[in-house]
């Protein structure tokens, strides 16, 4: 067993939570530069220029790229040879979030209870944490803050096997059309197909972590990605929904086997604040 200290996890989470909110990944910035060359709408190009300026300003001034610093979504890959000492892994992650949002001047956006009182928890905790136990003795943590503007427009459908590819395609395109200007395009669209009700949603979210522009290694997922990128950009929303040819810079598809009677599809819309940072301990 390899020991990993509670306090080291707290500091690591704090660091990547702040970094994710201040600095968009290079592949994302590059995707908007490419979009700027492809966009046919003049107003759309102006929006893309502002997005690129905002990326630089946030990075240089170490400020949150967007005021919606999101739900603290955390993906953990825990090596089965790792022993966390000094406290629980979950507490360490939440403490890291607490410190990041306070010391990094990030917005606390979580409320409880969700229905009646909706009182702000004050420190953006609790995080939403997805654990995966993997072979080895490393602990990998990815921080992917998710804003509500795009999260609110995400959808899930339990289609019938007979709906097939046409049904899947229609559902993805309808979701992007409904999301439109409200979800801050240009998007990255995460699509999970297969699994179960909850698992396809997780696949859709995980898909968003892959580098923009990279195609799936699975030939079926790859074919779906290529067709959907083409189709989504025919909808016409463009940057911020003012009309244009770049509604999404990428579509990421993850597939999983499913029940003989099922065809679950989840679409997780990611706004242009496509943020994530990771660390390995």
């Amino acid at each position: 067993m390899r020991e990993v200290l509670y306090e080291d996890i707290v500091e690591a989470v704090k660091r990547i939570a702040i970094k994710a909110n201040y600095e968009l990944p290079e592949d994302v910035e590059l995707a908007y530069q490419t979009a700027l060359r492809r966009e046919e709408s003049e107003l759309g190009r102006e929006v893309l220029q502002q997005i690129l300026l905002n990326i630089r300003a946030a990075r240089e001034e170490q400020m949150a790229y967007c005021q919606d610093t999101g739900v603290a979504v955390v993906f953990v890959e825990l090596g089965q040879e790792v022993h966390v000492v000094g406290g629980s892994l979950e507490d360490a992650i939440n403490e890291g979030v607490r410190r990041a949002y306070k010391e990094g001047f990030l917005r606390a956006s979580m409320v409880y209870d969700p229905v009646f009182e909706r009182k702000n928890t004050g420190d953006n905790t609790p995080a939403v944490i997805h654990y995966k136990v993997v072979p080895g003795d490393r602990l990998k943590i990815t921080f992917a803050p998710k804003g509500a503007g795009s999260e609110n427009t995400s959808r899930l459908a339990m289609l019938k096997p007979a709906d097939g590819w046409e049904g899947v395609k229609r559902f993805v395109l309808e979701t992007v059309k409904l999301a439109g200007p409200n979800a801050c395009p240009p998007f990255t669209v995460g699509v999970g197909i297969g699994g179960t009700f909850e698992y396809c949603a997780l696949l859709a979210k995980k898909a968003l972590l892959r580098p923009v522009g990279e195609r799936s290694k699975d030939p079926v997922a790859r074919r779906i990605e290529e067709e959907l990128i083409e189709e989504v950009n025919k909808i016409g929303w463009g940057p911020m929904g003012f009309g244009g040819t770049v509604t999404a810079v990428d579509v990421k598809v993850e597939l999983y086997p499913c029940h003989i009677a099922s065809l679950p599809v989840a679409v997780n819309i990611q706004c242009h604040a496509s943020r994530h940072a990771e660390i390995e301990l």
């Binding site: 107003l43 967007c66 929904g241």
Partner: protein
């Protein structure tokens, strides 16, 4: 061409605005989003006055990040407007003249803009660092317990927006998408 306007807004200014116009706003504006709207409209339902006089004013749908030392405000881009649609008429009835947010409004709100002669501006969502530079002062004036959702009075200079919905039924989103759509769903 950009139009420069200042707050409070008059009917003449609103009559001159068309969907798609680029506008720079200077003057005082107020912030309010979900929780503040709910509280304001509940106060009105109980027959109580609002903490701000909205007559002629503009409300910016925003919940900023906290300012770092020396900053006026933190990152401060628009939030999605449609969540406030339920509360809009109560404020328009009191003379609210403008709203700044992002995304499309319901058909009902578009009708209300015609009825009450008010305008909906879209700011570019997510470019929160750039937009914060146009905010020159910020002061919490009501509902401080709501934190980021408190009502603030901001002084803005040349705050860049686009007229999204005007009093003539114009809609930048519908018109923009129609121009570039290659499929109908």
């Amino acid at each position: 061409m950009e139009k420069r306007i200042s707050t409070p807004l008059t009917d003449e200014v609103i009559e001159d605005l068309r969907a798609g116009d680029k506008v720079l706003i200077t003057g005082y504006i107020y912030t309010a989003r979900d929780a503040a709207h709910k509280r304001m409209v509940e106060a009105l339902e109980r027959g109580e006055p609002l903490p701000i006089d909205v007559k002629g004013q503009v409300i910016y749908y925003v919940g900023p990040t906290p300012p770092k030392p020396g900053q006026v405000i933190g990152s401060a881009g628009p939030t999605t407007s449609i969540r406030m649609d339920k509360y809009v008429e109560a404020l328009l009835r009191l003379g609210l003249k403008g709203m700044i947010g992002k995304g499309y409004r319901s058909p009902q709100v578009k009708e209300l803009l015609k009825k009450y002669k008010a305008v909906y501006f879209a700011a570019v969502g997510g470019v929160a660092v750039l937009l914060s530079k146009c905010i020159k002062s910020s002061e919490v004036i009501a509902y401080e317990d709501l934190g980021t959702e408190a009502i603030r009075r901001l002084y803005v200079e040349d705050f860049p927006v686009i007229v999204a919905n005007d009093i003539y039924g114009g809609d930048i989103f519908e018109e923009g998408r129609r121009r570039f759509a290659k499929i109908e769903l």
